[in-house]
Symmetry: C2
DNA sequence: CTGATAATACAACATGGTGTTCAGTGAACC
DNA sequence: GGTTCACTGAACACCATGTTGTATTATCAG
């Protein structure tokens, strides 16, 4: 099966690209299969050879992003996290920066709440253990504070991704850590590492 | 026009109630005018005598809630806020508790992002002045931290409204203030920690 | 080269939602 | 008792959906 893999992949990409250029302009419910295929230059029926419906297409984009994020995070989690939450968060933010074209939209208020929810779910275990644990909160309190931090982080990250030039990555991570730990670290300057960041 | 105001008001209410009972069960885009009018016991055309479309109906509910919230907050702002952010936040939370039937849905992740955005916009000035001002943050940093606090508060409030019985209002406001002020113990009398299991 | 196969095109169909229109009905109001 | 009002019922044009059957290519195996 699939005698022409690179052609089908191209078609898939074309549909996805057409969809995304529409999605950056208007909400999901106003995007029709007609519009996508017209923009991509295919017959409407062709769409259904690749995707069940418009939401399925969006889901596949989201799945790819989240799968990669999870994979990368799991690689780094044991080595980095234990003694350096800051480095871990830097890594999280960097990954998002790489995929900013998608992430900035999906995580924003005009994005997909389901995506944001899954993103938060990914980070929840880390926050539970390294930000909330051992501070004497009841289970109910922890749950609420976790929601505060996760939603806050997600929204702040989304906003930063809109225009990452205004604040450096280090400064941004500094703000995140400041929120995590209360008031602890210094406000502006952050310790610089030996290497440049892309 | 409108010779029988109490009849038309009743119809309006019936349509709104029918819509809301559907909206608590499924997302907006899956709710049709047909469904609403069938549930309310009216002809489909009648809907269009009162609302432009389904989103218009939702908007009217949201507008009413936000208008009342804003009105109440403006009443209390000058008297209460200056010396007691805690009392002010208590008031904010109380108002939301009164309208929990709507607020708990609209503010939740399955609610309307536009509503959440407007809700946050309402509280933004207060946070800007009483939580962020005078702490030496740059404009860009303040914007990001504001986003963190607003989104965190909104999400935590939404979650609390789902089941306000688990934590008292005072305790909840204590958590909010704790997030606002860093880690400092809350001014109000609430927590007695150390007995619950973390 | 040729036949098989896979990717895509094109057209048509049934379904169901949208928003609008317009004549008609019954009850409320004056 | 006639008029006005709220609502009905039915129809209309439009558009999107998802599916199907048939046709047209391009690629590959033999």
């Amino acid at each position: 099966m699939n005698k022409r893999p690179e052609l089908t992949e191209q078609t898939r990409r074309n549909l996805r690209t057409a969809f995304w250029s529409l999605y950056t302009q208007k909400p999901l419910e106003k995007i029709s299969v007609r519009e996508i295929t017209a923009l991509a230059g295919y017959n409407r029926g062709t769409f259904y050879l690749y995707y069940q419906d418009v939401y399925d297409l969006l889901s596949q984009i989201e799945d790819e992003l989240l799968d990669e994020l999870q994979r990368l995070l799991k690689e780094r989690l044991p080595g980095v996290l234990e003694h350096d939450l800051g480095a871990y968060m830097s890594f999280v933010v960097e990954i998002n920066l790489i995929h900013a074209e998608y992430g900035a939209v999906l995580l924003s208020s005009r994005g997909d709440p389901r995506f944001a929810a899954r993103f938060k779910e990914l980070l929840a275990p880390v926050l539970r253990r390294y930000v909330l644990a051992g501070k004497g909160f009841s289970a109910a309190e922890s749950e609420l504070l976790l929601e505060y931090h996760l939603s806050g982080l997600q929204a702040m990250l989304a906003r930063w991704l809109q225009d990452p030039g205004r604040i450096s990555l280090e400064q941004f991570v500094g703000l995140v850590l400041r929120m995590f730990t209360g008031e602890a670290p210094a406000p502006h300057t952050f310790t610089k590492k030996g290497e440049d960041t892309p």
